[in-house]
Subunit: 83 residues, 5 copies
C-alpha cells in the first residue's frame, strides 16, 4: 500500500455519476508526484496516509460502486519520509 | 487516480468489438508520456482530468463490457501541473 | 491503455494450457522495452497499437479463460511516437 | 511477486473499519522506497519477504474483506539483495 | 506480459497456507531487478519466460486459490534481451 502525503482537496465540477459524492484529496509522494484519492477517513493537509489501490480501493471507499482506484485507508501516527 | 492532460482524440479504424463505440482520448502526463483513455465526460484538449484505472475503468465507462483499463472520471476545475 | 509498437511474433513451444491457441506478439515502447501481448486484431510489425491490461485483457482476448494480462485492442491509424 | 525487506511496524490510530485488526508492516526495497503491507506471517524487522499484490493480497490476508493491496506471503530463508 | 529470465528457485520455509505446494522461481529483468513467480511450466535457470500478472496469475497457476500475482506462462524458444 502506497504511503503518501495529503496536499489538499480536489475541486471537480464536471464528473461522472459513478463517483457520487465522494470526497477527493490530492496526495503526493516525497518527490512531489501527485494523484487523486477518495477519502473516507477525513485526512488533513500534511497528514501522511496509506492507501488501498485497485479493486480494494472501491471496497475501502465504503461502497463498491464508487469508481475510484485509490482510497485513503488510514492516517499514520508518525512518519519520517526520509527515515 | 492518475491526473493527466487531454491532448486530443484517438483515431482507430481497426479495433476489437469489445470497445464498442467508445470515444477515446490521448492523455499525457507532464513529462509527455501518452496513453489512451475512454472518455464518457466529453473532455477537451488541454483539460486536466483524473482517471480510473483497472477494473474501475470499465465501470466508469458506463458499461462493464467496454474493454478499457483507463477512463476519464472528471475534469479538474483548476490545476497547476507544477504546483 | 498503453500505446506500443508491434515488433513481431513470439515463438513459445512450451506453454501452459490456459493460453490456448492465442497469437502472441512482441510489443515495445519508444524506449525499446518489450512485453508479450495477445493479438485478436491481426496487427503487423511496425503498427502502433493500444492495449488493454489487467482483467480487461482477458475479455479483450475474446475468451475470459485466456491467461493473458495484455491484449492488443486496436491499431492506431496515424501515430507519431515523439509528437 | 515483489521481494522486500521488513523495516518495522506501522502505527495508525485513525483508520477505516475495513482493515480490521490486521497487523501492518513497513516494507522497503533495496533503494529504500517504503510501502505498507499486511502481515499474517509474523515477519520480523530485517526479514526479506515476498508479497502478494492486487486482489491476491486480500485472499492472502486470510480474509477477503481486509482492505489491503499488499500482503506478506512468506519469509525467504536466505536472500542477498545484490546477488 | 512481462518477459523475464529465470535465475533459480526460491527457498521459503515460513509461508502462508494459501500458496500451497507451488514451486516458486526467482525471475529477473535485464537490469537485474528480481521478483518471485509461481512456475507450473518447469522452467530452468537461464530460460527467458513470459509471465501473467494480476488475477490472471492465479488462473495461470492452475488453481485460483493459489495466492500469487505472477506466474510463468511459457518458455520463449529464442530470445535476445537486447535485440
Amino acid at each position: 500500500m502506497q504511503i503518501l502525503q495529503v496536499e489538499g482537496s480536489l475541486v471537480c465540477t464536471s464528473r461522472i455519476e459513478g463517483i457520487k459524492h465522494s470526497v477527493f484529496r490530492i496526495v503526493r509522494d516525497k518527490n512531489g508526484v501527485r494523484q487523486a484519492a477518495t477519502d473516507p477517513v477525513g485526512a488533513k493537509p500534511g497528514d501522511w496516509v496509506f492507501l488501498a489501490s485497485g479493486s480494494a480501493a472501491r471496497f475501502a471507499a465504503g461502497d463498491f460502486e464508487i469508481l475510484t482506484d485509490l482510497t485513503i485507508s488510514g492516517v499514520i501516527d508518525h512518519w519520517e519520509p526520509d527515515a
